[in-house]
Amino acid sequence: MTTGILLHRRLGHTYAGQVAISALCGLSLLGAAAGLALSWRDSLPDPVATHWSGGGGPDGFMSLGAFVTALVVTGVLLVALFSAIGVFGGRTASARRLSVGLNVWIGGFLGTVLTGSLWAQRGLADAAQALTPGWVLVAAVVGPGVLALVAAMLVPADPRQPATGPVVSGAGRADLAPGERAAWIGRSTVARTAVVIEVAVVLATLAAAVLSRTWVLLGVSVLVVLLTLTIAAVTVRVDASGLTVRSALGLPRTHIPADEVVRASVATVNPLGDFGGWGWRVAVDGSGRTGMVLRRGEALVVERTAGRTFVVTVGGAAEAAALLTTMAERARQEEG
């Protein structure tokens, strides 16, 4: 606890520091679970059961050391990947929250899988007698999920950073009379290619889970399905307050205040090439651009104060960019 507070004082005020703390938290959860599992060494059968399928007994076995090592190595690799997202793409709070949440979640998930499946095997002479620990997977997804949400919420939101300079022209302006109100609302749905690929990924993961008897993979397919649902459709809205992008499910959502808009323009986006896939993304080129990338083609690009750039794929982006430019200028006039 004290260590945590000290860490927070030292690191919590930098973006990379926040990510580092979450990586340490995730790895500590996993490390503690590994320690606990190894401390049960004398009361556990050898080999231990590591996989169950259907309602029957276990059908996958490993030595305790190999099981712990496999999960710890998986955890370290994933934490490294998630941390990279936060460190290189973490200019916005949303990207850091994603990175921090995933770091904590994966540590807790793998730790719960490890200890949960071994707990029931203590005192058994033969691992084949181990009961199906059906609750473990649920506990492993949900419990750390709650921790991850808390951790993500602890990441401070971006401070308000109104622009000091004028709006840079990117896509013309909307011709509004003084006092006239306007709103642009568009919808974007995820590309069919993405849906096909994600269904294929889920099926492949399920097949891999069954064939390799690595039932941790089932958690991955659950995660993929959940992520696909959150990005099925988004609403893109430009009004006097700025830009609001919201998933049909309500979350994820983001808002860019009009007075933080430096430039709004249109670009052509390739989800795989530019962002490495579909959904709530951080650009693969290390530029720190974040985006809601659902399909190839037209996208609204919003350059924001503090070097942040947000991209959302939507049809009619030129009109949206023009209105956002006008609203950004109005916001400057109100302040000036």
Partner: protein, 116 residues
Amino acid sequence: MFRIDPSSDEPLFEQLVAQVRVGVAKGHLAHGERLPAARELAEALDVNVHTVLKAYQVLRDEGLVDLRRGRGTVVTGRTEQDLSAVERAMAELIRAARAAHLSPDATATLVKEAMR
């Protein structure tokens, strides 16, 4: 894009209705396209949600949109007809109206009454 001019004499809901009519007539709003949810549009334009609902109801009564619970407001009107004759005549009308110092609202009212 939807716009509202609170300083205009035209009621707010009527302003929205007019924009959808024009959008459908000019083909900017395609058959089957979904209009924004009433609450969302009301919030974005900072008007009462009943204003938007009233506009959508008028549009439904005119057969331009279909209101379906859970599926939103869908454009059902179509235009494939050529509006160039109307546009030519309108250019003439606008020139004459400006010469007579008629405001856009007054001109629109005259046209509306003449078409009754």
